[in-house]
Structures are given as structure tokens and as C-alpha cells.
């Protein structure tokens, strides 16, 4: 048996199911299939995420009613409100939304390529690379927060390249990629643990906070790179998604149907890695969003595969809600958001698992 497989449909893996619309542009040769339900789920979840985001702008140690928030956004607010909304809450909330979406999308791409729900960037080493580099920057170099961000970015990209090259042998199978990633994760994780034991206790604490992932003090300088990454990479991911369906039939079938398997897979992986790296650099290695968002999305859409956009929407909602709770739960003390993503996401995923009404691998 293959490692935990995302179930392909009975018989033909991707036969149009009821509720599928096929959009064709005649004479141009463009056609795409749209799952009505997954579009609906994406929109509803995004709307929910946006409502939570709007709510998060209003609450805080200094509550601002929504009408004032809107006034501020169109440039008619009070001076205090302007500062709080524009330099504190808005960039923070946006970072949360975007980072959540990025993690969700990256997770869906990885999990589909490896056909294993555990193959999300937070488990196969992208986060571990970022973490080791960031902790090194904090503990050894005593770097500023900007340097830590750059360290994390370089660390995760370098790790991703290393994993790909080490897993490459006449092409990359998803399975080999995951196992190599796990090996690298273990190595980097032990480096991180070691650095923590060698650190001054205050550095160790700073590093622990960063390792948990936090949106505290995130400003426009964090929003811009993540926005840019999403604007560029979401269309790329959507464009490549059709090949993803073919890859799931197995390499030989995909080749037979005219997919250039290895370049496509490399491009998809690169997309996922870039998303995960930028998000990790912005908010820290927030575990779990990338793992759980695609799984929640799949159960909401009732689909056979992990649709990419619903996963991104679920990630955005999870992250935004988690940050709101993290800010207000023990106010005025703030918890790092990384704690809450797991505390909110894990029970929900477990509930979905327990409620699953399909026998077998549908779980």
C-alpha cells in the first residue's frame, strides 16, 4: 500500500462529479472545471475570515467601534485611532490573514504531491530550516529582528534546495522527498535544541517565543513581502493545479497524458516552498496551519482531493481567529499566535475526523 493516500475516486480518479461546472472558452482552447461546492466553501470561509479580521481591528486594550475603524480607513479618523489602526492593528491583522492563506496553500501543495497528509512544510523541514537559522541569528549573532527575518528566509530556502537535491535521483518521488525532509528536520531540530542549551537564558526565551510563531509587532514591512508572494504565487499555483490532478494518477499515467512530470513537480514544490518561506520569515514557524488547513478544507468541500483555494481560505480563517484569541485571552498579556493555532485547530480537526461518515481512507 502506498503511504496514507489521499483517496482517488472509485474507478476514474477525477471523473466529473455532480456539482462540477466545466467552463470552456471556445476556439481558444482554454477550459477549466469548477467544483461549485468548493467555490462556495472558499467564499464562505473567506467571508468568515474577513469578519473576524474586521472584528480584530475593533478590539484591544483601546476598543474602537467599527464605524470609527471605517472612518480611519478612509482617512477621517481621530489621531489616536489612526495610529492604533494604521500602524498596529491593520498590518498585524493583514499579516495574519495573508500568512494563514500562504501556509494553507503551501500545505495543500505539499500534501498533494506526496499524497500524505503529514507532508506539510511544517513537518518536512522547511520550518526547521527557518527555525535553526533564526535561532542561530538570535543566539550566536544577537541579531536584530530584521536580521532574524532574513535569517529565517535564507534558512528555509536553503533547506528546501538541500532537500530537493538530496531527494533527486532520476526525478523526485513525493515519498522520497518526505523522508529526506524528515531526516533534515531531525538534524536541524537537534541543532536548534543544542543552540538553546548553549544560549543565555534571555536569548533562549526570545528564541522560544520566535519558535512558537507570533504576530506581535508585525508592521507594514511584513505585509508587503507576503502580499507580493501571494499575488505572484497564487495564480501560479492555480495554473499548475491541473497538472497536480495528473500527478496524482502516478508518474507514468501523467507522462502518458503529456505532462512533463519533473519540471511540473519542481515548479509546484518551488511555489510551495516560496510561500512557506516567506510566511515563516514573517510570522515565525507557525506549526500546524499548513498541516491542518488543507485537511479541514477537504472535509468541508467533501471533495476527493485537497482543493488549493479552500485550503488557503481555511488557513486565513484559522490564523486570524487564533491571533484574535491570542491577543484577548489573557489580556493585557498576549500569547504567541502559534500556541492558539494548534489549540483551536487540533480539536476541530479531531472533531472532523471523528465525525467522518465514510468508511475506509475517507477518515
Amino acid at each position: 500500500m502506498a503511504a496514507v493516500e489521499l483517496p482517488a475516486g472509485p474507478g476514474v480518479p477525477h471523473a466529473p462529479t455532480p456539482g462540477t461546472l466545466v467552463l470552456r472558452v471556445p476556439r481558444v482552447g482554454l477550459s477549466t472545471r469548477v467544483q461549485a461546492r468548493s467555490v462556495a466553501v472558499t467564499l464562505v470561509v473567506l467571508l468568515a475570515a474577513f469578519l473576524v479580521f474586521a472584528w480584530s481591528l475593533t478590539v484591544g486594550d483601546f476598543p474602537i467601534p467599527l464605524s470609527d475603524v471605517l472612518a480611519t480607513l478612509v482617512g477621517r479618523g481621530s489621531e489616536d485611532g489612526d495610529f492604533i489602526i494604521r500602524t498596529l492593528r491593520l498590518p498585524r491583522g493583514l499579516t495574519g490573514l495573508l500568512v494563514g492563506a500562504g501556509f494553507g496553500l503551501a500545505g495543500a501543495i505539499f500534501q498533494r504531491i506526496a499524497r500524505n497528509p503529514l507532508a506539510s512544510p511544517d513537518i518536512i523541514g522547511i520550518n526547521a530550516g527557518a527555525a535553526a537559522a533564526a535561532v542561530f541569528t538570535i543566539v550566536v549573532v544577537s541579531g536584530t529582528s530584521d536580521q532574524v527575518t532574513w535569517g529565517a528566509l535564507v534558512g528555509s530556502l536553503a533547506t528546501a534546495v538541500a532537500i530537493y537535491l538530496l531527494a533527486y535521483r532520476k526525478g523526485v518521488t513525493g515519498y522520497r522527498l518526505v523522508l529526506v525532509g524528515i531526516g533534515i528536520t531531525a538534524m536541524l531540530g537537534s541543532v536548534t535544541s543544542y543552540l538553546l542549551t548553549r544560549a543565555e537564558i534571555y536569548d533562549a526565551q526570545k528564541a522560544t517565543v520566535w519558535l512558537t510563531g507570533s504576530l506581535n509587532g508585525r508592521g507594514w514591512e511584513h505585509v508587503r513581502p507576503v502580499t507580493l508572494a501571494l499575488v505572484v504565487l497564487v495564480p501560479v499555483a492555480v495554473a499548475l493545479a491541473r497538472h497536480l490532478r495528473l500527478l496524482e494518477m502516478g508518474d507514468d499515467a501523467a507522462r502518458g497524458l503529456g505532462t512533463r512530470v519533473e519540471p511540473v513537480r519542481a515548479a509546484l514544490l518551488l511555489t510551495g516552498v516560496a510561500l512557506a518561506a516567506v510566511c515563516t520569515a514573517s510570522a515565525g514557524p507557525i506549526a500546524f496551519v499548513a498541516l491542518v488547513a488543507p485537511q479541514i478544507a477537504r472535509r468541508l468541500t467533501g471533495g476527493r482531493t485537497l482543493a488549493l483555494l479552500p485550503a488557503a481560505a481555511c488557513g486565513a480563517l484559522l490564523m486570524t481567529a487564533a491571533d484574535l484569541v491570542a491577543r484577548r485571552l489573557f489580556a493585557p498579556t498576549e500569547l504567541p499566535v502559534g500556541i492558539l493555532t494548534a489549540v483551536l485547530g487540533a480539536p476541530y480537526l479531531l472533531y472532523l475526523l471523528a465525525r467522518a461518515n465514510r468508511v475506509g481512507s475517507g477518515g
Binding site: M1, A2, A3, V4, N116, P117, L118, A119, I123, L166, A167, Y175, R176, L179, V180, I182, G183, I184, A186, M187, G189, S190, V191, S193, Y194, L196, T197, I201, A204, Q205, T208, T212, G250, D251, A287, F288, L291, L335, P336, G338, I339, L340, T341, A342, V343, G345, A346, P347, L349, L350, L353, A354, R355, A356, N357, R358, V359, G360, S361, G363
Partner: protein, 366 residues
């Protein structure tokens, strides 16, 4: 132990057989060693390697002690000599602990991979170690426990509860404990427990200061007391694990096929599940969270023996302590008179080896 014949080698990209292809033996690539004699003989050789590693573990350390003295300490013990004391009261318990912890981790990993049919299953990824870590943090933070002997019971309790809960949650709903559900439930629990641990560590500096040293995983500073505390659990776990080989072979066929062949799937799951709880709980309790051993050793064993768990389990039992003790000895020697914790060395050493293995062979997809 009957020697199963090697399974036929299929093409490189053999698709997993569907539920219709009810071959009784999992059709996968055979291991390096084929036939009962080769596997059994290999196992004896591996055991010899383990004995050598154990000797090295007694002989090498921060203080150089001659080989004669080591033998004297073993066979004509003189409590008035410092070197004899070091050997008897420090290095021998440490070696025994390494053997026990290694066996526990290797078997727990193999059983987990078998039960969940997931190649990534291991006590670290599935939340068992996270449960132990949370319990230890609670022990430090709430009860002010400050000694390794005190941590043991917390860690054991945490590991036990975490694995039980993961298994319970993973088997809810229709279809019971499917591989996908178990994998996701394990990962979800791991994340949840780690998050709670982090929450305590962030709020309390003193706890972080103690915990970060336990969290690396080490065999150092554990004396005979801990060995005695953990030994009975280890023994039970090893026996349970070795008994579950047949059951795991059955599970490898997939539940439907196994049931139709008249196998009791639930019983097989329960036996190896219990083995996982006891083995990993005892190992983590004794040495802290040592990742990677439980994940990789079964893969190495599988590459050698092929897919039969009746061979994978004993091979894991022998290979894992060799890896752990070897790493421990190296950790003692590289930065003398200081030490690198064994958890760090296993990862730094084991990972390249594991990656090489992954590259060289198409490892069995479970």
C-alpha cells in the same frame, strides 16, 4: 520462528494492489537479505556489533580508562579504586540504559509504522514525546520537581496518556482507526501538546531554564535508580512488541483483506498499540525526547529484511540500541571533557545515513 520466503520483486513503480488483489503476502520489494538463514545469521552479526558498541560505551568516556582496568572492574571489582567506581556506578548503568532506551524507541517506531501503515510514524511525530514533555513541564512548573528521577513518572504518565488519547481519537467515527485518521490525530495531538508546553515555557523563565536541558534527550546523569525504575516496563514492552509481529503483517494487508482471511484486526491493533505505549513511554521517561531513532531504525531494518514484521521487529530491537549507544559514545568523545547530548548526535549522524538509504533504495511504502 518460521522463516517466511522472500516476497517476489515487482517492477520499480508497482502500484499498491487494490482491495481485490488478495495476495496473502504483502507484495513489495524484498530486502537485502533473503531467506531465514541469511536474516537470522545477519541478526547474529548485528548482535555482535551491539556487544562491541556496549564494550566501547563502557570503555570510552571523559576519563580515559585502560582496557585492563575495564576488565578488572567487570570481573574483579575493587570499590576502593576510582576507575572501578566510575565503570560500575556510571558507565555500566548508562550503557544498560542506552540498550533499554534504544530497544524501546526502535520497537515503538516499528510497531507504530505497522499499526498506522504510515512510513512517517514515530513517537516524536505522533505526539507521544510531546505528551511526555508536557507532563514534565507541568511537573517542573506546578509541582517543582527538579530531578531526573522525579521526571520519569511524569514523562511516563504523559506519554501513556498521549498515546492512549491519540489512539482513542483516531479510532472514533466509522471505519475505526484508519491509517489516515491515526496519522492526522497523532499530528494534531503533537501540535496541541507542544503548543501547551510552549505556553508554559514562555510564561515561566525558571521552567524553561530547567526544561531546555531535558528536552534535548540524553543518557548522561541517569544513575542505576532510573534504570531500575524503567526496566520492568521495558521488559513488558519488548515482549509485547515481539509478539505483535504476526498481527502487524496482517494489518499490512489492509483491514478488509485481513478480516476476510479471518484475522482479528482489533486484537492485532490493541497488542501493538499497547507495545507502543509501554516502549515509548519508558524510553522517553528515561532519556527525554530522542527523536529520529524510532523513525529511521525500522526503515533500515525493513531495507535489510523485507516487509515481514516478524523479522523487522527483532532487527529493530538490535539495531536501535547500537545506533543510540554508538551516538552516545561519539558524543562523549568529540568535545571532551564536555559532552554532546545523545539526541543531538543521533540526529546529526543518523540523518545523513538515513538520507543515503532513502536515495539508494526505494523504501517500502507502507
Amino acid at each position: 520462528m518460521a522463516s517466511p520466503t522472500a516476497s517476489p520483486t515487482l517492477g520499480r513503480d508497482a502500484r499498491p494492489p487494490g482491495p481485490v488483489a488478495a495476495t496473502v503476502r504483502p507484495r513489495r520489494r524484498a530486502g537485502l537479505l533473503q531467506g531465514g538463514w541469511a536474516r537470522g545469521g545477519g541478526l547474529v552479526v548485528a548482535l555482535g556489533v551491539l556487544v562491541l558498541v556496549c564494550l566501547a560505551s563502557v570503555a570510552f568516556g571523559a576519563k580515559s580508562i585502560g582496557f585492563r582496568t575495564v576488565l578488572d572492574a567487570l570481573f574483579s571489582y575493587d570499590p576502593s579504586m576510582d576507575d572501578h567506581l566510575i565503570i560500575r556506578s556510571l558507565r555500566i548503568p548508562r550503557t544498560l540504559l542506552g540498550i533499554g532506551v534504544g530497544m524501546g524507541l526502535g520497537l515503538a517506531g516499528a510497531c507504530m509504522q505497522g499499526v498506522t501503515r504510515n512510513p512517517l510514524a514515530d513517537p516524536g511525530i505522533f505526539g507521544v514525546e510531546a505528551g511526555a514533555a508536557l507532563a514534565v513541564v507541568i511537573g517542573i512548573f506546578v509541582f517543582g520537581v527538579g530531578s531526573l528521577t522525579g521526571y520519569v513518572w511524569f514523562a511516563f504518565l504523559g506519554a501513556g496518556i498521549a498515546s492512549t488519547v491519540v489512539y482513542g481519537l483516531g479510532s472514533l467515527g466509522r471505519g475505526g482507526a484508519t491509517p489516515v485518521k491515526l496519522a492526522l490525530a497523532g499530528a494534531a495531538m503533537a501540535a496541541l501538546l507542544t503548543a501547551l508546553t510552549q505556553a508554559v515555557l514562555i510564561t515561566d523563565l525558571a521552567t524553561l531554564d530547567q526544561f531546555r536541558f531535558w528536552a534535548v534527550g540524553s543518557l548522561a546523569g541517569r544513575d542505576g535508580t532510573i534504570v531500575r525504575q524503567v526496566a520492568p516496563f521495558m521488559a513488558v514492552g519488548v515482549v509485547l512488541a515481539l509478539l505483535s509481529g504476526r498481527g502487524l503483517n496482517t494489518l499490512a494487508l489492509g483491514d478488509d483483506v485481513a478480516r476476510s482471511l479471518g484475522q482479528r484486526v482489533a486484537l492485532a491493533r490493541a497488542t501493538s498499540g499497547l507495545a507502543v505505549i509501554v516502549c515509548s513511554g519508558a524510553a522517553v521517561a528515561a532519556a527525554g525526547p530522542i527523536g529520529f531513532v524510532g523513525l529511521t531504525v525500522p526503515h533500515v531494518a525493513r531495507a535489510i529484511t523485507g516487509p515481514d514484521y516478524r523479522w523487522i521487529l527483532p532487527w529493530s530491537l538490535v539495531l536501535a540500541p547500537s545506533l543510540l549507544l554508538g551516538a552516545d559514545v561519539i558524543g562523549r568523545l568529540v568535545v571532551r571533557p564536555g559532552e554532546l547530548q545523545v539526541g543531538i548526535v543521533t540526529a546529526l549522524l543518523g540523518a545523513p545515513f538515513f538520507i543515503a538509504l532513502v536515495r539508494r533504495r526505494k523504501l517500502a511504502e507502507l
